[in-house]
Symmetry: C2
Subunit: 212 residues, 2 copies
Amino acid sequence: MTMKLYCFGESGNAYKAALALELSGLDWEPVKVDFFNGETRSQAYRETVNEMGEAPVLVDGDTRLSQSGVIQMYVSEKSGQFNGESPQDAREVMRWVLWDNHKLSSQAGMTRFLMNFLPKDKRPAEVIAFSQGRLAAAYKVLNTHLTGRDWIVGTGITNADISCCGYLFYPEPFGFDRKDWPEIDRWLSNIEGLDGWKHPYDLMPGSPEDRV
Amino acid sequence: MTMKLYCFGESGNAYKAALALELSGLDWEPVKVDFFNGETRSQAYRETVNEMGEAPVLVDGDTRLSQSGVIQMYVSEKSGQFNGESPQDAREVMRWVLWDNHKLSSQAGMTRFLMNFLPKDKRPAEVIAFSQGRLAAAYKVLNTHLTGRDWIVGTGITNADISCCGYLFYPEPFGFDRKDWPEIDRWLSNIEGLDGWKHPYDLMPGSPEDRV
């Protein structure tokens, strides 16, 4: 049975799940979540899709999973890919997935939302500046780690890369410029060069253009 | 060999690792990290202990792990505890660990730091208010989930509980009051009632009193 991923193009967290599915070669299809009209915040969504009120959600027969990191782990279990080559690698992959959830994607996603998807007069300047400061510290950690490496863990793409790149291909400004971080820039080019790689707006339904 | 946990009492993220170790019965000892004098931000710490510039870090012989969620997983591997009773449970545990890292502890830890450990004239009021709003949404998700349950996943304590409670026992104000969230309050009492449970300031070295 084809797996269904509840997602929308603007979500970097959904992109992590969609990219893992797409690169794995497993059979999947997207189901568009109408985030911008409040679908994830509705009582119906919380009760029938995800109590956390978030996307992505993966449905595979009777299995229903949320949190991009869990969906990525599940894709690894089913496909045997993206989790490194040893238990040590797997722990290192999870270390970067957790770091990304805590320090990188969580801040990048929020900052991009505040700067681009809120009405101009509702954008909290102090919060945006503060988050950009925290993000710069995170970019520095990642850029330093990637020095002399093609991938975050080991010699090929893992869930660590798929998680950390989640928000970094989007065109909307949130204080990240690839030119400022040459090691991150090179690593993102490695990801873009993979067979089957797609940009978030080409991989999932929904984009700012649809809403103009 | 006794495992060493680099930690300090004020860190709820370190507490998650320390509490998992303590409740597991494994042999461990704390090594105090002098966070408040800048140890985690030093070049030496980044180069020799953790490139992410964070605590906790667990050292077990040649194995060195960071990110509280990874250390919790490692404690589960070694002790056979806290990861539920099936692969489905394990995925549900990881779902809540990731949610906690993304939405609950990350925000609670930062907000508590800004409100208590920064000089009064450096506390960013707009950031604090914004974070408290996000936290209230997270408390609501957790409180709703705990209705009719003693534990987040299954019928006993797991890493999901150990992760989500990380900042909720601390006395310093950050906008969380157990009385406002009766299901969370009851669940925290379940955790406090476990054999071997200790408060963060009793389990790890370092507390605000030491710094007065």
